[in-house]
Symmetry: C2
Subunit: 201 residues, 2 copies
């Protein structure tokens, strides 16, 4: 019997996935979490075989939860199921030690299968994503550029960004200009869009 905790912030989807997995006789759902911190606590307490988690969740992302579990030496294996085919997330997920990465676009019957494979010690990556990831460019941004871009994307000016990061406005401009150049964007708006679409923010 494979013991599973599910973490997913949309209650309806959480319930639906649970009912899907309940059809499988060898899988048992032992816990449900609606956000990151709750997932972490639940896994620590229940020590399930598998944590099935979304990425976008309040508090902590699924990837961050995976990283913390790894740090604490919890043996639970993490399987990420998420919306975004963003190649950038995959790399970070792997770095965080997840054992599987599925897309919500993949057919439902693949899920139980993936869980069994991961529980048996294997690694699963969505085939659709695997090929994309192989060709996907690596994140070209430095930490500073990422941070600046994150602030720029919701409309802050250079001066405000500088204030927030303890940098001079001129330096902020340089970072943004550099980031745009790296991403082939014409301006900060396009740059942050590109970065966001690739999961680099």
């Amino acid at each position: 019997m494979i013991r599973i905790v599910i973490a997913e912030d949309q209650a309806l989807v959480l319930g639906a996935i649970a009912s899907l997995l309940a059809l499988e006789p060898d899988l048992e759902i032992v816990g449900r979490a609606a956000d990151g911190p709750q997932a972490l606590e639940l896994v620590r307490g229940l020590q399930p075989d598998i944590l099935l988690s979304d990425i976008e969740m309040p508090g902590l992302t699924g990837i961050e939860v995976a990283a913390r579990l790894k740090d604490c030496g919890v043996p639970t294996r993490v399987l990420i199921v998420t919306t975004f085919g963003r190649a950038g997330y995959l790399r970070r997920a792997i770095d965080a030690g997840v054992c599987g990465y599925l897309l919500k676009d993949s057919p439902a019957d693949r899920l139980a299968d993936a869980i069994r494979r991961v529980a048996a010690g294997g690694r699963v990556i969505d085939p659709e994503l695997a090929s994309v990831a192989a060709f996907a460019p690596a994140d070209p941004l430095s930490d500073r550029e990422r941070a600046v871009l994150r602030l720029a994307q919701d409309g802050r000016s250079n001066k405000e960004i500088g204030r927030a990061m303890a940098l001079s406005p001129g330096t902020v401009r340089n970072y943004l200009s550099e980031a745009a150049a790296k991403l082939g964007a014409a301006n900060r708006i396009e740059a942050s869009r590109i970065a966001r679409e690739n999961g680099w923010l």
Copy 2:
């Protein structure tokens, strides 16, 4: 027996919801669609009692599908289930003649209930959303402002936007300035973010 077509672009979620509804003896899933046009065609052909649909889908949004069904006089009642609590969508959904609007955040057991109520001729609006919507400001943007903002948000310059819309760059500037003023934003980036967050784009 209530006959249902489900439209949802994420296969895994689609499958999961189907398995959830399959537990209810009085509900029957007669069709599944992965995008807007497919949903439209399926509903036209099968004439189910209910179309359960997401909003964001390739091709046509759930709301657009609902509007077309209304125009064609198809008697199927539409129930929207979606991620975004954006109040702006609700208004447009109601205008398109949908009979129900649920959030994916609401508990799973509410779904079957909502379907029965809608099938019986009732209207259902997620209670969480209903109160929000009552206080939500109406969309202050004109069609032109919306269109300009949509182009601005992915980094096009005034000149490019003007070319795309057959307007002079100066006029584009005026529209954007006006839109920003209406939304209390300092610039086009913030303006489009605010509009997006409210479901006005």
